[in-house]
């Protein structure tokens, strides 16, 4: 039986049948073995027989060891649950997981980026989690609103957010100093930012290296797009909106940074971050995940601030890691109950996770003293209400490459911003139409 055929009412009904309100019972009811004893108590403890859980993710960077440490601690605190963590490169992971689900070898728990949830849900890779959220008493107020809302596809929840990783503005204090700028007050609006770039240029410093590559060129573009009141898609997710007024303004601003000589032309991948680490540039719009990289560079005197407001309002691109439960060919009640305990436990410990360069999604963790002690993370967390995530649409990943190409062509000065964007939008419109037919 397919889970998605359950209406909310019948799921509630099932929940009511099971003492303790275990959502896992409802999940496993599809497998026909829902009448076993309830082994979890509100998702916080698990008293059943010993189970092994598989947990897959793509944490190949500095985040991997942090998560592994958390998993080990979880194992040592839970005698009857043993979690085995397996890490793949994200690209490999995204290809392996559906194949594993198809062949019945899927792990119980996985991590997915929030922009992949809708596609994975539509393809039947992951399970709806509303009942898990209910059982864990998780609600919007427990999480940052934008990330909680972005985990919903077709009115069902598919991800329990672990973190948020937005773009921020790193600034090199030494370089700002050398141009006579206040290294403790980085610019926060368009005029101040332009003045700073101008002052740096006078001192022969290219203040912001504008990269034409997805990391972080198209993330910069998306941030500015939202700042200029544009969006990736129209609000009904049916047509591209990125080539509209907001998109053109955003991309024109980026191209002007290059044209006005505030950035070298034709920058290579990651060269912007390398230049920043070598005191060759003042500003680097980059992800929060770079905090530990920059902290590890000897002699680098840096700070981080929310993205300056270049457009009409504040906005910044962000992504988020989400816990997902993978569809099993033969669901096991005990494993599902244990999975829930695991997700809940890690989610509560996410201040440890924040140290790897993340903002915890969970409000209680974000408002804790321990998180406040993480200076850089806390600064970037002030952007929360301005964060934007990719539209929750199946197949949104097929649209993004066209935006990336447009940004690349425009920043390399090969096409006018408006032309690059409208070419991309033409193709994106076709893809959206194809995907509507495919995913319904």
């Amino acid at each position: 039986m397919r889970l998605s055929t359950f209406g909310p009412l019948s799921r509630r009904g099932l929940l009511g049948l099971v003492a303790g309100g275990s959502a896992a019972m409802a999940l496993s009811a599809c497998g026909g073995s829902g009448e076993t004893a309830d082994n979890s108590h509100g998702g916080t403890t698990y008293n059943g027989p010993k189970v092994d859980l598989d947990f897959w993710n793509g944490f190949t960077g500095g985040d991997g060891p942090v998560m592994l440490k958390l998993v080990k601690r979880f194992n040592s605190e839970h005698d009857n649950i043993k979690v085995k963590m397996t890490t793949y490169k994200w690209e490999t992971y995204n290809e392996k997981v559906p194949a594993a689900v198809k062949s019945g070898k899927a792990p119980e728990v996985g991590i997915m980026h929030i922009d992949e949830l809708a596609t994975a849900a539509a393809r039947g890779v992951i399970l709806p989690l509303d009942d898990v959220a209910d059982a864990l008493h998780l609600a919007k107020k427990d999480f940052a609103a934008p990330v909680w809302d972005a985990g919903v596809y077709q009115k069902k929840r598919y991800g329990i957010p672990l973190d948020m990783h937005p773009l921020g503005m790193y600034y090199n204090k030494k370089v700002l100093d050398s141009a006579g700028l206040d290294a403790d007050k980085p610019p926060s609006n368009a005029d101040d930012y332009a003045d700073a770039l101008h002052a740096l240029k006078k001192h022969k410093i290219k203040g912001m290296w504008m990269t034409p590559f997805p990391f972080t060129g198209s993330q910069t573009f998306q941030s500015l797009l939202w700042q200029f009141n544009g969006d990736i898609l129209t609000s009904d997710n049916t047509r591209p909106d990125f080539a509209g007024d907001g998109g053109v303004k955003a991309l024109t601003w980026m191209v002007d940074v290059v044209k006005d000589g505030y950035s070298p032309k034709n920058i290579g991948q990651d060269a912007d971050a390398v230049a920043f680490q070598n005191d060759k540039t003042a500003f680097n719009w980059n992800g929060i995940w770079n905090i530990n990289t920059f902290a590890g560079v000897k002699g680098l005197d840096w700070g981080v601030a929310p993205l300056p407001q270049i457009g009409d309002r504040k906005a910044a691109w962000s992504n988020s890691h989400n816990f997902v439960l993978l569809k099993q060919l033969s669901p096991d009640t005990n494993k599902q109950a244990a999975s829930k305990v695991f997700v809940n436990w890690i989610s509560r410990k996410s201040v440890e996770w924040a140290k790897s360069g993340q903002i915890p999604a969970r409000t209680s963790v974000r408002e804790s003293k321990a998180f406040a002690a993480l200076k850089e993370q806390s600064i970037l967390a002030t952007q929360i209400k301005d964060l934007h995530f990719a539209p929750s649409l199946a197949g949104i990943g097929d649209v993004m490459p066209y935006i990336e190409t447009a940004v690349n062509e425009a920043v390399l000065l090969k096409k006018k911003p408006s032309d690059a964007l409208s070419d991309a939008a033409g193709k994106a419109a076709k893809v959206l139409k194809e995907n509507r037919e495919k995913y319904g």
């Binding site: 039947g124 034409p212 590559f213 920058i267 070598n278 690349n408 062509e409 390399l412």
Partner: protein
């Protein structure tokens, strides 16, 4: 009649029995996937979706319809593959031959040099890609730095402008894979009979004449093999573009395999991707047949 008797003696199925293990592997891992691939290419195929609508030949006809979504991108990627193949194959055929000739001579430290030239080939594409991404970086890369030191232009955009991106990609590929072709040539050189060289010397042929009239004809079958596998390897180029240029500028260096992977594995349009794969494979088959015909050893 003696011939037939012997055949009977060993049994009619003997050759097939000997071939069976390989046939089994070939059938399982080559023939069956190809047939399945054709089947996929006739559908809108996403293996996770229960509904895989029959598409007939539309995945193929779309590739030849200028109004379709894939037309521009597919042929642009085929063009990129073509450019890379045409630009890289001559270097990958000639330079390793020169190196093999040098390494064929007797001199102290010969084995060390043989190992050195082969060494890059053992590296994975991820290592090579990352290494060259930084070497070729326009602003912080070593190549431009050294070029500047010796008075050449020091701001060539190796990874995101044309033709420099192609030059960079070809150069890194030659550096990376020349050792493999050199080893094959080296083996071939050892098969050229020494008596022929001797006889030619006695007839008064110089070094150049001996190379042209003895070594090269002796290497002909090896050469045909090297040219063919090099064309196929270059036409399958993926990792270099993927890692070093990310298809930039625009998508000019996005190769066919890169586009097929994006369509099939990221966009889950396996039907489209399979059709593109077959078109590419068919073109490569034609090129390979032509190549073997042209280089066929003439008695």
């Amino acid at each position: 009649m003696a011939e037939r008797n012997r055949t009977r003696h060993t049994g009619r199925f003997t050759p097939y029995l000997f071939l069976a293990p390989y046939l089994l592997l070939f059938g399982t891992f080559v023939a069956a996937p190809i047939v399945f691939g054709v089947w996929i290419s006739l559908h809108e195929w996403d293996y996770m979706l229960p509904n895989k609508p029959w598409a007939g030949l539309s995945n193929y006809t779309d590739l030849f319809d200028p109004d379709s979504l894939d037309f521009d991108d597919f042929w642009q990627s085929m063009r990129a593959t073509g450019i890379f193949t045409v630009a890289s194959v001559p270097f990958l055929v000639v330079i390793p031959l020169g190196i093999a000739l040098l390494l064929h001579r007797r001199f102290p430290g010969r084995n060390l040099f043989r190992a050195l030239y082969f060494a890059p080939y053992v590296l994975g594409v991820a290592v090579v890609g990352l290494l060259w991404r930084y070497l070729l970086d326009p602003d912080v890369g070593a190549v431009n730095f050294v070029a500047g030191l010796i008075g050449l232009p020091d701001h060539t955009a190796w990874v995101n402008s044309l033709p420099w991106a192609w030059i960079g990609l070809v150069a890194m590929t030659v550096w990376w894979t020349l050792g493999f072709n050199a080893v094959i040539y080296l083996a071939g050189l050892q098969d050229v009979p020494a008596e022929l060289h001797e006889a030619a010397s006695i007839d008064g042929a110089g070094v150049w004449h001996r190379f042209w009239h003895v070594t090269l004809p002796g290497l002909r079958p090896v050469m045909a093999f090297v040219v063919t596998i090099t064309i196929l390897a270059s036409a399958n180029m993926f990792g270099q573009s993927y890692l070093v240029t990310d298809g930039s500028p625009g998508k000019d260096t996005r190769t066919a395999i890169m586009y097929i992977a994006q369509e099939g594995l990221r966009g889950f349009k396996m039907g489209n991707a399979a059709a593109m794969g077959f078109v590419l494979a068919l073109m490569l088959a034609v090129v390979s047949i032509l190549n073997f015909r042209l280089m066929r050893y003439k008695e």
